[in-house]
């Protein structure tokens, strides 16, 4: 009945070696009504891995608001889908590729980008923009320069070759990532509303087609690697790194979009984590069908792969699709014209079971939905850290003896310095859609053929999240909304990459639960649905976990692109207005962390009501064309934001006066933004702020070669050229690359 190859015996120990617990093995035995063979065990271990099943996170993820007036598809498919007007939809998602990138940063980040792009075009949408949220450790930590260089080259290497612009992202440095860097890749695609594809198999007798690169032993058990922490033995796991081929994927992208137009494709899914297993099983599971696969027909890159290896291989640039019986030739013709291999490897059945045959025998015979829809769900123990009250004690904030020096020192840190060294290695102008590229608060691309634009941004502050995951989660959402508002964009949805440590540790599960709560609260208050996302657990090395890092990527629609403000000063003589409330809030602040190596205190309050009013005001002002400049405040507070606003294409100074003094210039109170308006519009802007309930005060005007600040009876004056020099050279200097 079962295949006899020299494969390990199936027992609790061998099951554990591929990531299945003893209970999970028993559960599988119950489902099958017998002992599983090695292939069946492998299939299950992949489907029930954390990465594929979300078993530790599901109970919390249910809390996310996933519906909204524009949402066509929430979580559960390859990517989320939202209506963006004019008959178009945006399809987007973010995915992590943390563990492979730590081992082999170039290929790890390459394949991370490749994977997320496939998730987009498998839905029928042409990817038009990418972003990346990166977290590195201290630059001087072992291997870190090698990792940074590799990751940036890899992201560029894939996106540039595919001809998809990388228009934004976020890069942070913190020692908590010394042993676990984070590479989260986001992609957004556009399609006509009525031309979306789903990965839901149907129609007994419909053929299952395999298209793309051949199958090798790449990444076998990559899904399980993502579900395990690093330790000294991780080094031996090296062979599991997959190699990306962006050229083949570009061909695959064009061929898939063309094949989809034949109308002969019923369902399509890319082969990502757990390759052939997850793609075929998930498609069949969603459709409630069964499937029969003839493994002898799977195209192999090298001979001798066992069924186990074939089903778990994570060779890249492969898709699986269900075609309409009788019309498969139409589909195959398209792929062949593009030079791609396409093979009929089986068919959809109505048995609800997966029957895999190999060399004339049954390699696996396993029911589908019990594996895909009824994966184990865990309620991991949760425990608030015992020293939380300690952590929340307000820090003692040293006053800067010389605010100008403090400013220059902060601008010189990799964390706050300009990131141009990174994004200049990404093609951000290909496709002639980029209205605002990297370097601003949000990226803006054209929705071609319409007067509208799409805006997108990535945000999270891991230090806030460590001290108060609930507040930190809410803050990430609030900042994203603020960023979008600065370009006049109304949010339509968000996707996330929830990067955490080991959920089997109660404090980590507590962090996760709280972060999800905070995100959910902010999403409800700010009317932003969560339409897709990804969870990455086990980001821990030798027991030390990363800070909770729930990265948020949010997308918005700008109804009209006329008179878009810049994130920096563009006209001399504009009046500068500071919106929002100034308070003294230093919990987890960059000022304390970067200048005094002090991390302490509850993060700044997130007043969702105030954020909502500020966002509405900004959107309204942008729509009316009243703003030349709009830039929100975040890490480093007011003085950092003011300096950043001076660093436009033509650097420009400002003369301002504020009531904040000393360290308060770097306080990180939320819900604030800087705008610069032509003098004739000042009155109108201030009135609008009053009407909409947003505190506003004019603080000065743009112009001149110096940044001149009157505060607390003192005058700070610095040449913008000097500040700009410090800020723009700090990162390449620190990297020495």
């Amino acid at each position: 009945m079962t295949v006899t190859v020299s494969e390990p015996a199936v027992n609790a120990e061998t099951a554990r070696s591929i990531g299945l617990t003893g209970e999970e093995l028993e559960r599988l035995k119950k489902i099958l009504g017998r002992d599983p063979n090695w292939t069946e065990l492998g299939i299950t271990s992949a489907l029930w891995s954390e990465h594929c099943s979300y078993k530790s996170s599901k109970i919390y993820l249910r809390e996310f608001p996933t519906e909204g007036p524009h949402v066509l598809q929430g979580p559960g498919e390859n990517a989320g889908v939202v209506d963006v007007g004019h008959g178009f939809v945006a399809v987007f998602k973010m995915e992590s590729h943390n563990h492979p990138s730590f081992i082999e940063p170039y290929q790890g980040s390459m394949t991370g980008v490749g994977g997320i792009l496939r998730d987009i075009f498998t839905m029928g949408a042409r990817p038009i923009a990418c972003m990346d949220a990166l977290r590195f450790g201290e630059i001087d930590a072992p291997r870190m320069r090698f990792l940074i260089d590799g990751v940036v080259r890899g992201i560029g290497g894939y996106g540039n070759c595919m001809g998809i612009p990388t228009v934004g992202g976020e890069t942070g440095f913190h020692r908590c990532y010394n042993g676990n860097i984070l590479v989260n890749a986001f992609a957004l695609g556009v399609a006509r509303r009525d031309r979306i594809f789903h990965a839901r198999a149907s129609g007994a007798g419909n053929p299952v087609l395999y298209v793309g690169s051949r199958t090798g032993r790449d990444g076998i058990h990559g899904a399980t690697m993502a579900s395990e922490s690093f330790d000294k033995e991780s080094e031996q796991k090296r062979p599991t790194v997959q190699v990306g081929d962006p050229f083949t994927e570009k061909i695959l992208l064009e061929a898939c979009l063309e094949a989809m137009r034949t109308g002969a494709i019923v369902a399509i899914q890319d082969m990502g984590a757990a390759g052939l297993t997850s793609s075929t099983f998930e498609m069949a599971g969603r459709g409630g069908t069964g499937l029969r696969l003839d493994l002898d027909r799977v195209p192999l890159r090298q001979p001798g792969l066992t069924p186990y290896e074939m089903m778990l291989s994570e060779s890249q640039e492969r898709m699986v699709l269900v075609a309409r019986k009788g019309r498969e030739e139409e589909v195959e013709k398209v792929f062949r014209r593009w030079g791609l291999e396409v093979v009929d490897i089986g068919e959809i059945t109505d048995t609800g079971r997966a029957l895999l045959t190999w060399h004339g025998e049954t390699a696996a015979d396993i029911p589908i939905q019990p594996l895909t829809e009824e994966a184990p769900v865990y309620h991991r123990p949760v425990a608030e850290p015992a020293d939380l009250a300690e952590r929340w004690k307000a820090p003692e904030v040293p006053q800067p003896s010389d605010p100008r020096q403090a400013l220059e020192e902060l601008l010189a840190t990799p964390e706050l310095a300009g990131k141009r060294w990174i994004w200049q290695q990404y093609d951000h102008t290909v496709r002639t859609n980029t209205v605002q590229g990297p370097g601003g608060d949000a990226a803006v691309v054209l929705l071609k053929g319409t007067p509208s634009g799409l805006a997108m941004t990535c945000d999270v502050n891991p230090v806030y999240c460590y001290f108060d995951p609930r507040r930190g989660g809410a803050q990430a959402v609030a900042e994203a909304v603020r960023n979008l508002a600065c370009v006049g964009a109304e949010p339509v949805g968000l996707t996330d990459c929830l990067n955490f440590g080991n959920p089997e540790r109660p404090e980590i599960s507590w962090q996760f639960r709280e972060a999800v709560r905070g995100i959910s609260e902010a999403c409800r208050a700010l009317s932003v649905p969560v339409i897709s996302g990804n969870v990455s657990f086990y980001n821990e090395t030798e027991g030390a976990s990363i800070y909770p890092t729930p990265a948020i990527a949010m997308v918005g629609v700008i109804p009209s692109l006329a008179s878009l403000p810049d994130p920096w000063f563009r006209h001399e003589g504009d009046r500068i207005v500071l919106l929002g409330d100034d308070r003294s809030e230093f919990g987890g602040a960059a000022y304390l962390r970067l200048l005094y190596d002090l991390e302490q205190g509850r993060p700044p309050a997130v007043v969702l009501d105030a954020e909502l009013r500020l966002a509405r005001l900004l959107r309204s002002l942008v729509a009316q064309g009243l703003l030349h400049t709009a830039h929100d405040l975040s890490e480093g507070g007011f003085l950092i934001a003011l300096a950043e606003a001076c660093f436009g294409r033509r650097p420009m100074g400002a003369r301002v006066e504020v009531s904040m003094a000393g360290a308060d210039l770097f306080s990180e109170s939320q819900g604030r933004a800087l705008v610069a308006v032509p003098p004739a519009a000042l009155e109108q802007v201030l009135e609008a702020a009053t009407t909409m309930g947003v505190p506003a005060r004019e603080i000065g005007e743009t112009g001149g070669a110096d940044l001149v600040l009157k505060s607390g009876g003192e005058v700070l004056s610095a040449p913008v050229a000097r500040l700009h020099e410090i800020w723009s050279t700090a990162l390449p200097k620190a990297l020495g690359l």
Binding site: Q107, G216, R238, P239, F247, Q302
Partner: protein, 89 residues
Amino acid sequence: MTVYPRREILDPQGKAIRDALTRVGFPGVDDVRAGKSFEISLGTGDPQAAESQLREMCEKLLANTVVEDYSVELLGSSVESLGTDGIRP
């Protein structure tokens, strides 16, 4: 020394070159692997020391052993010039 992508790993470049060779009139080509070749002249006359040094160079820098294999061949003591730097990647 030569550095090649490891046998089990996908070599996208080799694959593209093989397809191109087929198109240009060489259909019998089964497989192509594209790698790099380095010629390094060392000051030492001791072949064992040289080989061990060269292997270390590969491990530390010239090959990414996660995805590449390397082989070292001693060409003998020669005073042939290799160009302005000793290494031609």
